[in-house]
């Protein structure tokens, strides 16, 4: 009948676009093990199949994401960088327009800025001691204090409950109500801080060239290194592998992990001093700016330079957004560039002039907003297309309730990663440890204190009734030594014969394949 003969016009499962599948792809299929390991082969096959299925499912789920990213497109003959913030604020809806605002705080010096991980809360720290934390979307002031000391840097800790302030002498931790919780005297002269959220580590760089790590969940200093490179005031973290990047006045950028006393990598980036460093969220690209007025883009996985741009005024602050927009600030001008690493960039995407000289830049996560701390206070500017439109509710949820925040905090503390696991390749735990035999032997010797494989010297048994004269003992020793020598020779000869046989076989196979006849064939054995 008609119904039975109808066939599916689109047979099989729906196709998934290639880029989406690529986005969710993890590493390639593992090598098949050798012949005899049936169970292992079966297990690997099943795990590969399950992994592929889950990657495809995740790629399919991408279709259901609710939000789209922002954009800004001008006319054909028009530069988007000439569009002013006021125009954008008028053109968009009221809520988005309210995200462009200025805080005039000219009394307390240039401001450092930090947004919390969810993007909801903003922390301002003025040079002359003014510290304030605000829920910037509802403009609700959470706390405002003056610490009566100069403030070098401010940083949110894992949630909006606590923040760290690097003051003139020591490191202080405050509650979101402004109550001083801790004064950590071990961390002195801190200039810059970075918080590693999944490790609960606060990394601090000091004026005395010390890089220190503080575990904020336990309250212990995990590691302290004397970098011996001078004043450390350029610092950033690689969100992909939790490595700290430090920039130095001799133009080098060094990479640090809490497990090694020396820098993991030292890269010479600029001819002058390095002014600012930033790394994107996938851990692929590093953007640095230096005193030589250059802006350089590096592939940090392969440590190769990709692009180099000349900025007429240089860039004192850099920040990368979640979607790859780069903001560079010099003096009182903030410029935003798009696609710095894929296509050659000739002009900025957006530009804005603020009232004072820029001291801190930070993109707000999950919002199209860039926070600029400057000498005259704080400006929040609109940058369409900067924020990630779809957040994950279980990771950083700007709309979480108090209960959800508590549950998230407990789970995050339970899966806190130990600092020993920080390395250049974050997936190192997933690889089979193929330590060579020599390496393993060396480890065993070190662990045991002696070499278990070393042959003990042969000590002949002392025989009574005069059978242990010097000559007899020597004879016995010689006999054992000769036997050992014979064993060795036999072994080497066997190995040699085997190898020769293999070479011959290979040559024969080759000859058989190539089938070339030569006049000398009849002399071959």
């Amino acid at each position: 009948s008609m119904a039975a003969s109808k066939s599916d016009p689109f047979p099989g499962p729906a196709p998934i676009p290639k880029e989406r599948v690529q986005k969710f792809k993890r590493k390639d299929k593992a090598k098949k093990p050798r012949h005899q390991h049936f169970k292992l082969r079966d297990m690997m096959k099943r795990s590969d199949e399950a992994s592929e299925m889950s990657q495809k499912q995740a790629a399919r789920f991408d279709l259901l994401l609710p939000e789209d990213a922002g954009f800004l497109e001008g006319d054909e003959d028009e530069d988007t960088c000439t569009i002013s913030q006021e125009d954008i604020a008028e053109a968009v809806d009221i809520t988005s327009g309210a995200k462009y605002f200025n805080l005039k705080l000219s009394q307390f010096g240039p401001y450092r800025v930090d947004y919390s991980k969810t993007g909801r809360h903003l922390l301002l720290g003025g040079r002359r001691g003014h510290v304030a934390c605000i829920d910037w979307q509802s403009k609700h002031l959470m706390c405002e204090i003056n610490v009566m000391e100069s403030v070098n840097d401010v940083k949110w800790l894992h949630s909006e409950a606590m923040y760290a302030v690097a003051q003139k002498k020591w490191l202080y931790i405050y509650d979101s109500n402004g109550i001083e919780l801790h004064c950590i005297r071990k961390f002195n002269d801190v200039l810059r801080m970075q918080f590693l959220p999944y490790h609960f580590l606060l990394a601090t760089a000091s004026a005395t060239s010390f890089l220190q790590y503080l575990d904020v969940s336990v309250g212990k200093e995990v590691a302290a290194f004397c970098t011996k490179t001078g004043r450390l005031d350029v610092m950033c973290q690689n969100p992909h592998n939790a490595i700290i990047h430090l920039g130095h006045p001799n133009g080098t950028v060094t990479l640090w992990s809490p497990n090694q006393k020396e820098a993991l990598v030292k890269m010479l980036c600029h001819q002058g001093g390095v002014r600012s460093v930033t790394v994107d969220k996938t851990g692929m690209y590093m953007v640095t700016s230096g005193l030589d007025k250059k802006l350089k883009v590096y592939d940090i996985r392969a440590f190769k330079p990709l692009k180099s741009y000349f900025l007429p005024a240089g860039a004192s602050c850099l920040s990368l957004s979640q979607r790859g927009l780069l903001s560079a600030a010099t003096g009182d001008v903030v410029q935003v560039y798009r696609d710095v690493w894929s296509a050659p960039v000739t002009k900025p995407y957006m530009a804005h002039r603020v009232r004072g000289s820029v001291w801190g830049l930070h993109f707000c996560p999950f919002e199209d907003v860039l926070g600029v701390g400057h000498g005259d206070g704080f400006t929040s500017m609109l940058v369409p297309g900067a924020g990630e439109p779809n957040f994950d509710g279980l990771d950083a949820n700007p709309y979480r309730s108090a209960k959800q925040r508590q549950e998230w905090e407990v789970k995050a503390l339970l899966e806190k990663i130990q600092p020993e696991l920080i390395s250049l390749d974050p997936t190192e735990l997933g690889y089979v440890d193929r330590a060579t035999f020599e390496q393993r032997h060396r480890d065993r010797v070190q662990a045991l204190g002696y070499d278990p494989l070393a042959k003990e010297k042969f000590v002949p048994k002392y025989k009574k009734k005069g059978r242990s004269s010097a000559g007899a003992v020597e004879r016995r020793k010689k006999q054992v030594a000769h036997e050992d020598q014979r064993d060795e020779i036999r072994k080497t000869v066997e190995d040699k014969m085997k190898m020769e046989k293999e070479i011959k076989e290979r040559a024969q196979k080759k000859a058989a394949l190539s089938n070339q006849k030569s006049a000398l064939d009849r002399f071959k054995k």
Partner: protein, 471 residues
């Protein structure tokens, strides 16, 4: 003046187009603006909304976080591993044999060394019925497949069939049927579907329930058999353990035994795998258990080594994936069907030599009957939470299980998973046995090294224990 279109932000389905006259240009702009109504729950009684995005760049450190979760799951499993549930007290002599009720999960029958048979209610942990079945040991007890009656055999050469219901008020316990035999019976098993049962003693007899003499007797030159078992899947097949260190296979329909395999030491009991018709596991005196494929008896399919004394009883889980073994060293061990070493060991100071063990039919509990007159109820999965689980709990348990499986080879996790506390004598005995085994291996290696190549062949561990197969 050029007309200007200003497009408002289109995050919702309805787009507002407002035309206004203003200054220069024409631009298209959209700024991310989320409607909180889409992300926050409407009332306190709803569940919270959790939008998901599986983009890997939003979830860095996948491997390390999963590893930490797996480590926590492993440690918590050890924290919650409390397998002992209850001890059933009441027998006045050692418990010799047990039988599972075929229709009721909460009933257990046990026979002791003074001829008493007790019926237990496992949910209330108390004895429901007691009857004096035999004078002397109760050697075997089995419940009929329909669940209405059960059979016992004892040292007084009788086979008795009893009703499952307790007798009424004032009535005495009387067996439904008594069969007198000529020799002592040492084991008993009932057919899965027909009214036929088998006993073993001096020979293996197949009995019909209506007759008082066996319908068939199998002998093969041996004078005593220790246990007989029907295959639960291929219901016409039987296997028995004989005192000449052999295991004999029979087909009920034939007149002679099929074949037998002679091993280096005697097997005490055997159990068929309820899911795989051709596998059976025998509990041997040389501290090991051997799983054989009945089609190929010349080498066991697997050798299970971990006990430090003779293994007395073995029973399979109803899933067929694992089995439990009871040993003369006062422990019971749970093995996987293809695992050479045990995954779990249960012991208590009060439990002495474990004579019989059963795995309950709902795969959750293990019952062990021991020398000191107690039957103990254990959890098959030591860290399992019993009772009704919420769906989220089940999901969390499944996730933790999968994580532990994924990272089982990492050294720290493997160390924690494999760690078990053992009583001091068993711990020392295990070490001693290992030293002995290594010494033997070393000697064999040296002998092989110093003799002509080929004169001392390499015999695999599996082949070592089988002497011969006789058809």
């Amino acid at each position: 003046m050029t007309s200007i279109h200003r497009h408002y932000n289109v995050s919702s389905a309805n787009a507002l187009h407002v035309y206004a006259f203003s200054v220069h240009f024409q631009m298209k702009v959209k700024v991310l603006s989320r409607n909180p109504d889409d992300y926050v729950r409407e009332t306190k009684l709803d569940i919270q909304r959790v939008p998901r995005n599986y983009d890997p760049s939003l979830h860095p450190f996948e491997v390390s976080r999963e590893y930490t979760r797996a480590l926590n799951a492993t440690k918590l499993e050890r924290v919650f591993a409390k397998p002992f549930l209850a001890s059933l007290d009441g027998h006045r002599d050692g418990v010799n044999c047990m039988a599972k009720h075929t229709k009721s999960l909460s009933t257990l029958l046990s026979g002791s060394c003074d001829g008493e048979v007790k019926m237990w209610n496992l949910t209330k942990h108390d004895c429901v019925r007691t009857l004096q079945a035999h004078e002397g040991f109760v050697r075997g007890i089995v419940v009929r497949y329909c669940g209405t009656s059960f059979f016992t055999v004892g040292d007084d050469k009788t086979i008795k069939q009893w009703k499952m219901e307790a007798p009424g008020y004032g009535e005495a316990e009387e067996p439904l049927n008594t069969i007198l035999g000529k020799t002592v019976f040492t084991g008993l098993d009932h057919h899965q579907k027909e009214a036929v049962f088998a006993t073993c003693g001096q020979q293996v007899d197949i009995w019909d329930e209506q007759r008082s003499s066996p319908i068939r007797s199998f002998t093969w030159g041996v004078d005593s058999f220790s246990s007989v078992r029907f295959n639960p899947v291929e219901t016409e097949l039987l296997a028995s353990c004989a005192s000449d260190r052999s295991i004999v296979l029979y087909d009920m329909r034939e007149s002679a035994p099929l074949k037998k395999v002679i091993m280096t030491m005697r097997s005490n009991t055997l159990c068929w795998n309820p899911m795989e018709a051709y596998h059976f596991t025998c509990a041997n005196e040389d501290y090991n258990l051997y799983t054989y494929d009945m089609r190929n008896l010349d080498r066991p399919f697997m050798v299970h080594m971990d006990h430090v004394s003779a293994v007395l009883d073995v029973d399979y889980s109803p899933t067929g994936k694992e089995f439990v073994s009871a040993s003369f060293d006062k422990t019971i061990r749970i093995f996987q069907k293809d695992g050479g070493h045990s995954r779990e060991v249960y012991h208590t100071k009060r439990m002495q030599h474990v004579i019989c063990v059963k795995w309950s039919a709902d795969n959750k509990y293990i019952l062990s009957g021991s020398d000191e007159m107690n039957i103990r109820l254990w959890k098959a999965n030591a860290a399992e939470k019993l009772g009704v689980l919420a769906p989220r709990e089940k999901q969390a348990i499944n996730y933790n299980q999968k994580l532990k499986e994924k990272f089982q080879h990492h050294p720290q996790i493997r160390r924690i998973t494999h760690h078990r506390h053992l009583p001091k004598n068993i711990y020392h005995q295990t070490k001693e046995l290992r030293i002995m085994k290594e010494a033997r291996k070393r000697k064999e290696r040296n002998v092989r090294k110093h003799s002509r190549p080929g004169t001392v062949p390499v015999v695999s561990e599996k082949e070592k224990h089988v002497v011969t197969v006789v058809k």
